[in-house]
């Protein structure tokens, strides 16, 4: 079994989000980068398949050299090899095209992406890749079991869970539930040492076109201060919600 996990390099969840150069560029000053949390749930499931079914796990990121520490971390967690497609991630469409060209060179049975990245929040790349490769696609995926060629996957839907079946190869958009928080693997010393020996291939980008560009960022307006209501005067809260905020 050959598994690809697509990794997005994102600012840590506690990062202060600021912009520079007239709000055109994200300020990476002092920002720690991490594996996109949804991708980490997916990677952990891939390692599970590696241990159970001897699957080979490749991780890939489309990005510049600054993304390599994250790939090394994936190797320390247990991935067999890493690939960096040496191109700035322009937009979802061009990233999907880059990933597609890798998938056409090697054949993967399972392609795992995160449901969405926590920086761009596009939720675009996995579905685009699936459509480009004409593979079945399950996003918001909270469980995936493989039996021979058959896949049973569960998708979280608004207010419930849907169980789906299809055959390999498949593309999924992973999220928490696929594995639990407590299953996440913290690399140990041995893993970190081994990661240094594992292959991290840098490949040249394929030709791709972007279909969108981000020109500028904006921060939400500063919030006014909270109106505190006396706990002995709940009627006031109800009146504020009804008359002032008009939400009840």
């Amino acid at each position: 079994m050959n598994i690809l996990v697509c990794i997005s390099n994102v600012p840590d969840t506690t990062s202060k989000i600021n912009f520079v150069e007239n709000d055109k560029i994200f300020d990476t000053n002092g920002v720690q980068f991490i594996i996109n949390p949804n991708d980490e749930f997916g990677l952990t499931r891939a390692i599970w398949f590696q241990q159970k079914n001897q699957a080979t796990v490749t991780v890939v990121t489309v990005g510049e050299i600054s993304c390599e520490p994250i790939l090394r971390k994936c190797l320390a967690i247990g991935a067999n090899k890493a690939v960096r497609i040496d191109s700035k991630a322009l937009d979802g469409f061009s990233v999907a095209e880059q990933l597609k060209s890798l998938c056409e060179k090697e054949s993967f049975d399972i392609i795992i992406c995160g449901r969405e990245s926590i920086d761009y929040n596009g939720g675009m790349v996995p579905g685009m890749l699936a459509q480009m490769l004409e593979m079945p696609f399950v996003t918001n995926c909270i469980s995936m079991d493989v039996n021979g060629n058959e896949v049973i996957a569960k998708r979280e839907i608004d207010g419930g869970v849907e169980t789906l079946s299809c055959s390999l190869p498949i593309v999924i958009g992973a999220q928490k539930g696929l594995v639990e928080e407590s299953d996440l693997i913290i690399p140990n010393m041995r893993g970190i040492m081994q990661a240094r020996q594992k292959p991290l291939d840098v490949v040249a980008p394929a030709n791709s076109f972007s279909k969108s560009s981000v020109d500028k960022f904006e921060k939400p307006p500063a919030k006014g201060s909270v109106k505190l209501v006396d706990p002995d005067n709940i009627d006031e809260l109800i009146s504020l919600l009804h008359n002032e905020a008009k939400v009840i």
């Binding site: 989000i17 912009f19 949390p37 469409f93 999907a96 926590i118 920086d119 761009y120 929040n121 596009g122 939720g123 675009m124 996995p126 579905g127 685009m128 699936a130 459509q131 079945p136 696609f137 399950v138 996003t139 918001n140 979280e156 839907i157 608004d158 207010g159 419930g160 869970v161 849907e162 169980t163 789906l164 079946s165 299809c166 999220q175 928490k176 639990e180 972007s210 279909k211 969108s212 560009s213 020109d215 500028k216 960022f217 904006e218 921060k219 939400p220 909270v226 109106k227 505190l228 209501v229 706990p231 709940i234 009627d235 809260l237 109800i238 504020l240 919600l241 905020a245 939400v247 009840i248």
Partner: protein, 319 residues
């Protein structure tokens, strides 16, 4: 050329977000001087859309589409959109619409922007404002396709009624060939889902244990609200994963969000910040949630929530 909207329905009824998407489409059509064509799939009464201004409604009724499969829906919507000469396709930001939007983008060779929070900043070139960094910021995205797709964020534009007399056309679809089969659907009936809810009541670790969740549930049922929780609460198994909201959970964009015994960690706030009005109940005046909230009560939840439920019941019965 036309503005196309897919109006999402569930069990034959249009979702609220469908009317919002049609309202948004009407605004786009006016601004760009184009016709507004709305696609409805298995909705019982497509004429209901006439309240929101379409020029034409394409109604598909096909039992093979009773189960939602993103691929089959995308195939159908892209085929109809091409026939109508689509320039911009508008979808909601529901889980189902976000699921199929990238498939549609590839099929139509279109530019795609999800989580769009307002009408375009500019129509030509097409520039939209969308949320990013999990609601900590917005970006201005230029869509460069000759066809483009916009997913409108829930509750961001609102529903604007505008009566029209659309031509309603029944359309047949080509036979589809799904790659994925829906085996079963396990849906909580009767309760309100977080995605559709106007009001969400959320509980955190401050509630001490699952046995106290009747407080959250009673408050929610009094207000017709959905229930949600913080991440540790679902990690500890007090509540199902599907209720976990925040940066790594479900996003919330309700009109009213009431957080009880939730500290307001940055990862929690990121996921719920798009809600319009936020209320916090917490016994620690230093809890970070007070900085993000519009209204707050510093008190023990076990004292104040029962009173709040009682008062709200009285308020509701007078309305």
């Amino acid at each position: 050329m036309a503005i196309i909207v897919y109006a999402e329905s569930q069990n034959g009824k249009f979702k609220k977000s469908a009317f919002e998407a049609v309202s948004y489409g009407r605004a786009l059509a006016n601004e760009s001087n184009k016709n507004l064509v709305v696609i409805s799939i298995n909705a019982d009464d497509p004429n209901e859309l006439a309240n929101y201004g379409p020029d034409k409604v394409l109604s598909v009724k096909d039992s093979s589409m009773n189960d939602y499969t993103a691929q089959v829906y995308a195939d159908t919507i892209s085929e109809l959109s091409k026939k109508e000469g689509v320039s911009i396709l508008v979808l909601s930001s529901s889980a189902d619409s976000k699921y199929m939007s990238p498939l549609l983008a590839v099929q139509l060779g279109a530019g795609l922007a999800s989580n769009v929070v307002s009408t375009p900043i500019s129509i030509s070139p097409l520039v939209v404002k969308r949320s990013c960094f999990t609601n900590k910021a917005f970006n201005h995205t230029t869509l460069k396709g000759s066809i483009n797709i916009i997913c409108v964020s829930n509750n961001s534009y609102g529903i604007h009624e505008k009566e029209s007399r659309p031509e309603v056309v029944d359309v047949k679809i080509s036979k589809n060939n799904p790659k994925i089969k829906v085996e079963s659907l396990d849906k909580a009936t009767g309760s309100v889902s977080i995605a559709d809810a106007d009001i969400v009541i959320s509980g955190g670790r401050g509630l001490k244990g699952p046995e106290n969740w009747h407080l959250i549930e009673d408050l929610a049922s009094t207000l017709g609200a959905a229930t949600a929780c913080s991440k540790p609460v679902s990690d500890m198994g007090w509540r199902p994963h599907s209720e976990h909201v925040g940066q790594t959970g479900k996003p919330v964009a309700s009109n009213l969000y009431i957080a009880i015994g939730v500290s307001g960690a940055i990862q929690h706030l990121a996921g719920i910040n798009a809600s319009k009005v936020k209320v916090v109940i917490n016994n620690d005046p230093e809890a970070p949630f007070f900085k993000a909230a519009d209204y707050g009560i510093v008190a023990d939840a076990f004292d104040v929530v029962p009173k709040l439920i009682e008062k709200l019941k009285a308020f509701k019965s007078h309305q």
